[in-house]
Every structure is written in structure tokens, then in C-alpha cells.
């Protein structure tokens, strides 16, 4: 099966964005490292440059991981919409493996194209930033060389993961039976959630072990700074478990959120639509969950830290002068770095929702024939979009708050020489910004599908193909 070019745009966009982000980040890290080396005071130490490189790698990995989830979901959604075509090709003798290989090959081509765009755009952006920073005397002119091998690494990672994600996303091709070309299955787009036990068990083990370590870290943190590292390991493990078990975690949250929209037919169908493909909805939301969780974790920890610093500053104003500005700058930089992954996830959600609605044209026609007016159809789609964003944001906020508090407690609980309970700081600005972003995303994601839905003529429901 050859996918249409139109279906490849979102994947190309995601790959290009991830590639640009990775290349830009590595260039900027390289620039900073060169600047540090050039400085007489800090030049001796490699630690800062090493830390920078490590942090950059972490953020690139997160962005590439999120874009891989987005890509595999896009491919899976496209494949689900093509079930009949695939079945027809199978019926006339094409093998499922050949069709799947074709999709993966296209993924590799798109991944390479995205990576190439990423190298160009990322290097261009880094050049621009250097120019600006040097002109404004924020950075000294350095001898940083843009032609270094390291920046090709994120590009290669993007190309390979796009390939891999297309392969994983096209798994469904193997499940299409030739008979589906001629049968009249009503639930064509139901993706069975069979044989996930191994994965779910791994997820549960990770979550349990992770939480155990997290609690241990918090307790040890009361007396020993090593607690932070134990807690960090616990946080990473348990969150990996949550992401792995997204198929189990997200549908109940989506159901719960769906219920908040009331009992009108539009709201009820929207709630059902949001979970009709549990696998798809989980992948649609988990990228956002990752972004929101990381943002919240980080800002809750920082907010708790700020409270403590302010107290210290009040006691010794000279020692802690200017500390708040530095803290704010750090928070801003990290927010942008994490926010980028959330942006990629959001693009994925917009695209998948649009595809899903397009695949339901016939059902939309049926609803129109039965007496749904255009307004009800639009409300149904906006509510479906809202269910997805609200569920993701809420899950991320709750998880992030827990992790953020645990982080603050492990980090600061023993910092003053005696064990204290650290009040979690509430990052109101961040929470406000997240809620506004979720609202914007809900609307943006529903614009195109709602418009298309409102144009669907009821006659399509009666048409026999």
C-alpha cells in the first residue's frame, strides 16, 4: 500500500520540528561550551560543559520520543482508515508484509527528509542566535565550528525513529483480513486491545518499584542528599511505567472527563468517541501528558525552591542577591525546552483528531439524517477535542504535582540540617498558562474537523458504495 502524499505532511512536519529542535539545541550547547572555555574563570572546569551536554541530550531524547509516538499514531490512524483498500489489495494477492514494508519505507524517506530540514533549519537558527547574542554582548565571539559530527546525531535519531515509528504504527496492516474488503463490518475502526499483558505487567512493575524508590528517596532525603538521586530514579521508572501503560491509564480518565460534559446526545457521543479507539486515544494524549507532567514537576519543584530561597534571602540579603532573576531565567529556559515536546504532541493530536473525524464521514451523515443539526455536530467534535486535552492536562497536572512535591521534599527536606516538611509550591502562572493552552488546543484541534463535519450531507449515510 502506498500512502498518499497528503498523509505524509504531518509526519514530515513532526520529524522536521524534532530535527530542528535537536540540532539547534546541540549547536547552542556547543556555543555555550565554547564560550565557557574562552572564559578565564570557568575555562578550567569541564563539569559545566558536561552538564550542558547531558541536559541537551535529555531534552532531545524526550522530543524525539514524543515525535515517535505521534508518528506511529498518525500512521496507525491512516492505516485504520484504509482498511478496505488494504483488504482489497490482500484479496487480489498482495501480501500484508509487502504492504507494511512499503509504509515503513515511506517512513524512512520522510524521516530522512525531516532530518535534512532539521539540520538546515537548526543550524540556521543557531547562527542567527549567535549573531544576536554576540551583537548584544551576551556571548563572546567564539571559534565554535558548525560543521561538527555531533549535530548529525539528532538528525540520524529522527530519521531512524520515524522509520521505526512507521513500522510500529503499521502493525495493523497485518491484522487486516482480505474478507474485510467485501464484508460490511460496522465497527471497522475498532482496534482490539489483545495480548498486551506482558506490557501491562512491565508497566505495573515499573510503577510499583518506581513509587517505592520515590518514597525511599523522600525519606532518605530528610537526612542525606543522596535521597534526591534515589527519588529521581524512582520518578523516571514510575513515569516510564505510566507511559508504557497509557492504554490502561488514559481510557478511564477520558471516560471520567467525558462525563463532565453532561448527558446531551452531542456530549455523550463525544465522550464515547474519545474512547472508541482506546489505543489511538491513549497515544493521542500520552505525548501531552508527558509534556504537562514534566512542566508541572519542574515548576512545582522550582516554586518550592523559590519559597525556601526567598526565606534565605530575607535572612542574608547580600549572599542571595540576584538569585531570583537567575531562578526565573532557569525556569523560562527549561519551560521552553520541555514545552517543545508538548508542542509536537499537540500537533499530533490536531492531526489525529482530524483524520479520525474524516474517517467517520458516514456516521456523521447518519447523525445528520437522524436529526442532529449542524450546531450539535460541531459541539460534539469540540467536546471530543476537549475531552482529550482536558484528560491529558489533568493527568499531567496531577502526576506533575506529585513528582514535583516529591522532588522538592527529597531535595530540600534535609537541606537545612534538620528534617523538615517542604510545602509544595503552587506554580499558579504555569497552571494558568497550561489551562489557557489546553483551551486553545481544544479549539485549534476542532476547527478543521468541525468545519468538515458541518459540510457533510446526510445523503452520504444512505449512499451504498
Amino acid at each position: 500500500m502506498r500512502t498518499r502524499m497528503k498523509d505524509q505532511w504531518p509526519t514530515l512536519l513532526v520529524a522536521a520540528l524534532a530535527g530542528t529542535f535537536g540540532v539547534l539545541l546541540l549547536h547552542v550547547t556547543g556555543l555555550l561550551a565554547a564560550a565557557i572555555r574562552a572564559d578565564d574563570v570557568t575555562g578550567e572546569s569541564d563539569t559545566v560543559a558536561l552538564m550542558l551536554g547531558f541536559l541537551a541530550t535529555v531534552f532531545v531524547v524526550i522530543a524525539v520520543y514524543v515525535s515517535a509516538i505521534v508518528t506511529s499514531n498518525t500512521v496507525a490512524t491512516v492505516v485504520a482508515g484504509r482498511t478496505r483498500t488494504i483488504a482489497l489489495l490482500r484479496l487480489i494477492g498482495s501480501s500484508a508484509r509487502a504492504q507494511r514494508a512499503q509504509i515503513a519505507k515511506e517512513g524512512l524517506v520522510v524521516g530522512i527528509a525531516g532530518a535534512a530540514i532539521g539540520v538546515l533549519a537548526g543550524t540556521g537558527a543557531a547562527l542567527g542566535i549567535e549573531e544576536l547574542a554576540v551583537a548584544n554582548r551576551m556571548l563572546p565571539a567564539t571559534d565554535y565550528g558548525y560543521l561538527n559530527a555531533a549535530v548529525v546525531l539528532p538528525a540520524i535519531a529522527v530519521a531512524l525513529t520515524t522509520w521505526l515509528a512507521s513500522w510500529v504504527g503499521s502493525r495493523r496492516v497485518l491484522r487486516v483480513r482480505p474478507i474485510e474488503a467485501i464484508s460490511n463490518a460496522t465497527a471497522q475502526d475498532r482496534e482490539e486491545l489483545g495480548r498486551r499483558r506482558g506490557r501491562n505487567i512491565a508497566a505495573i512493575v515499573l510503577v510499583v518499584v518506581g513509587i517505592g524508590l520515590l518514597v525511599t528517596g523522600v525519606v532518605i532525603g530528610l537526612t542525606d542528599p543522596i535521597g534526591v538521586l534515589i527519588g529521581l530514579a524512582g520518578g523516571i521508572l514510575s513515569f516510564t511505567g505510566v507511559v508504557l501503560g497509557a492504554d490502561v491509564v488514559m481510557p478511564p480518565v477520558l471516560r471520567l472527563v467525558g462525563r463532565l460534559f453532561g448527558r446531551s446526545p452531542a456530549a455523550r457521543l463525544a465522550a464515547e468517541n474519545a474512547v472508541r479507539n482506546p489505543e489511538r486515544s491513549s497515544r493521542m494524549t500520552i505525548g501531552l501528558v508527558i509534556g504537562v507532567t514534566l512542566l508541572t514537576t519542574f515548576s512545582v519543584t522550582m516554586e518550592s525552591y523559590r519559597a525556601m530561597l526567598l526565606a534565605a534571602q530575607a535572612a542574608q540579603p547580600e549572599v542571595f542577591a540576584g538569585i531570583e532573576e537567575m531562578l526565573n531565567a532557569t525556569i523560562a529556559v527549561f519551560t521552553v525546552l520541555i514545552g517543545f515536546s508538548a508542542l509536537i504532541a499537540a500537533i499530533g493530536m490536531v492531526n489525529t483528531l482530524s483524520l479520525s473525524v474524516m474517517q467517520r464521514t458516514r456516521e456523521l451523515g447518519l447523525l445528520r439524517a437522524l436529526g442532529f443539526d449542524r450546531g450539535q455536530l460541531r459541539r460534539m467534535i469540540v467536546a471530543e477535542s476537549a475531552a482529550l486535552t482536558v484528560a491529558a492536562t489533568l493527568t499531567g497536572l496531577v502526576l506533575g504535582f506529585g513528582y514535583g512535591w516529591a522532588g522538592a521534599q527529597a531535595l530540600l527536606g534535609g537541606a537545612q540540617g534538620e528534617p523538615v516538611f517542604v510545602m509544595p509550591g503552587v506554580p499558579w502562572v504555569m497552571i494558568g498558562a497550561l489551562i489557557v493552552s489546553a483551551g486553545v488546543l481544544t479549539l485549534v484541534a476542532s476547527i478543521a474537523p468541525a468545519r468538515r463535519a458541518m459540510r457533510v450531507s446526510p445523503v452520504v449515510a444512505l449512499a451504498v458504495d
Partner: protein
């Protein structure tokens, strides 16, 4: 005083109806100057070769599509120029549909599908309507399946649910476009029998497109279409008479 369609015992009427698709040389005339009235309480079958305009006629009469020329009434309402919202409310309250396939909302169970027209109207069925719905579930043999989703039902069961939904609001008119086209002939005839019973026992007005002479023999009246025109308007007929006429049409073509 103007004579209203209902004064003539008509539940729906079209006059001088034409429908053309496309322009110029490639234009297709799907309906060509069709005038007819459907009588209240009757079960009307519409027959004709493929492409003769049966579906188009039904879509226009149901307010799903608009004609190129002519006028359409449902009861005493001239629906020809009604806007989208008014037509939507009209379909919701006064028309029932049974399509060939894809009749049911896949995310709703049997009860949810049948109740949908009421919920769209923002109301609960009255006690009287609820009794009627329960009776429908009973007659259609759906009693034990109310919480099943469409994909858990056989094709015949799905069509029964569609019939229950179409009849639940006691609409002025039920349109059925080849409702048994996807069923094996035995199941198909069972389902058609149910429609015939609804008409005979409860006075439900029904217009149904079908290819099956046995199915059409249940109808009070049979309209034959060819090339967008009504070529014959017959009363109740035997399957043999219907087959014979269909065959003569094919031979004439």
C-alpha cells in the same frame, strides 16, 4: 380555499419534480417531471432498475436533498424551500429512516440508538411512547439485547434495531431504502414482514425501495420507476405479477 395534501388523505406529495446532476453534456437526469402522492397509512413499494432514480426520489421526499425543479410536501408542510435547521427538526420529529447498511451509531447500544431521536429533541418519551417502544422491542425480538452494541449484533438484528428506531417516534412517514439489501433472503423477508405488520396493524405510512418481488407483494401500492419517470402505479400485486412487469421493463430497455 386551497386544497391541502392532507385533505386528499396524502402524507407526502411531490409535483413536477426534477433532479439533474452536473451541467452540459455530462449532465445526468435522475428524476424527470415526477408527480405523486403517498397516502396516509399505506405501505408503498418503489421498484425499478438500478439507476432509475429511486434513491434520489426518496432523498428529496425526506428532505435530505433538494430538487432542481418542482415542489415537495410532507403532510401540509411545503418543504421545498425549508432551510437546513428546519429540515433537521423535521427529520428528527416527522420522518423515520431505515437504510441498507450503516444504520446505527456504533458507539451507542441498542437502547441508545432507539432513544436517539427523542434525546435529540431534548425530551423523554411519554408513558404512552415508552409503552410503544417496549412493545416494539418485544415484537422485534430485541428485548434481551438492549445493552448490546451494533457490532455485537447480526445484520438482521441490526436492521430490526433500525426499524425500532424508525417507528419509535411514530413519524408521519418511514423511508426505507433497500432495507434488506445486505441480508440473506430469509432474514430479509422476516425484516420486511415486520415493516408490513407495522403498516397494517398500526397504520404507519411507509415508503420502501426494494428489488424483491416477494417483499413488494406485502405493499399496498407499487410504483415502478424507469429513467427518472414513474412508468406504472399498481395496487397490491402478487409476486408473479410484479416479476412479470419487472421482466417486461428489462426487455423493453
Amino acid at each position: 380555499m386551497q386544497i391541502q395534501p392532507s385533505d386528499l388523505g396524502l402524507i407526502a406529495r411531490v409535483a413536477g419534480l426534477a433532479k439533474r446532476y452536473g451541467h452540459g453534456a455530462g449532465a445526468v437526469t435522475a428524476l424527470d417531471d415526477v408527480s405523486l402522492g403517498l397516502r396516509r397509512g399505506e405501505f408503498t413499494a418503489i421498484m425499478g432498475p438500478s439507476g432509475s432514480g429511486k434513491s434520489t426520489l426518496m432523498h428529496i421526499m425526506a428532505g435530505l436533498d433538494s430538487p432542481t425543479a418542482g415542489r415537495v410536501w410532507l403532510g401540509d408542510t411545503d418543504i421545498t424551500e425549508l432551510g437546513d435547521s428546519a429540515l433537521t427538526v423535521l427529520r428528527r420529529r416527522r420522518i423515520g429512516f431505515v437504510f441498507q447498511s450503516f444504520n446505527l451509531v456504533p458507539t451507542l447500544d441498542v437502547r441508545g440508538n432507539v432513544m436517539l431521536p427523542f434525546e435529540l429533541d431534548g425530551r423523554r418519551p411519554s408513558r404512552d411512547e415508552q409503552a410503544w417502544i417496549d412493545e416494539l422491542f418485544d415484537t422485534l425480538g430485541l428485548g434481551g439485547r438492549l445493552t448490546h452494541r451494533p457490532h455485537e449484533l447480526s445484520g438482521g438484528q441490526q436492521q430490526r434495531v433500525a426499524i425500532a428506531r424508525a417507528l419509535a417516534t411514530r413519524p408521519d412517514l418511514v423511508f426505507a431504502d433497500e432495507p434488506t439489501g445486505n441480508l440473506d433472503s430469509r432474514t430479509g423477508r422476516e425484516v420486511l414482514g415486520l415493516l408490513a405488520v407495522a403498516s397494517a396493524r398500526y397504520g404507519q405510512s411507509i415508503a420502501m425501495v426494494t428489488h424483491d418481488p416477494v417483499a413488494a407483494s406485502h405493499a399496498d401500492r407499487i410504483l415502478f420507476l424507469a429513467d427518472g419517470k414513474i412508468v406504472r402505479d399498481a395496487g397490491r400485486s402478487t409476486p408473479e405479477e410484479i416479476s412479470a412487469f419487472m421482466l417486461s421493463m428489462e426487455l423493453a430497455a
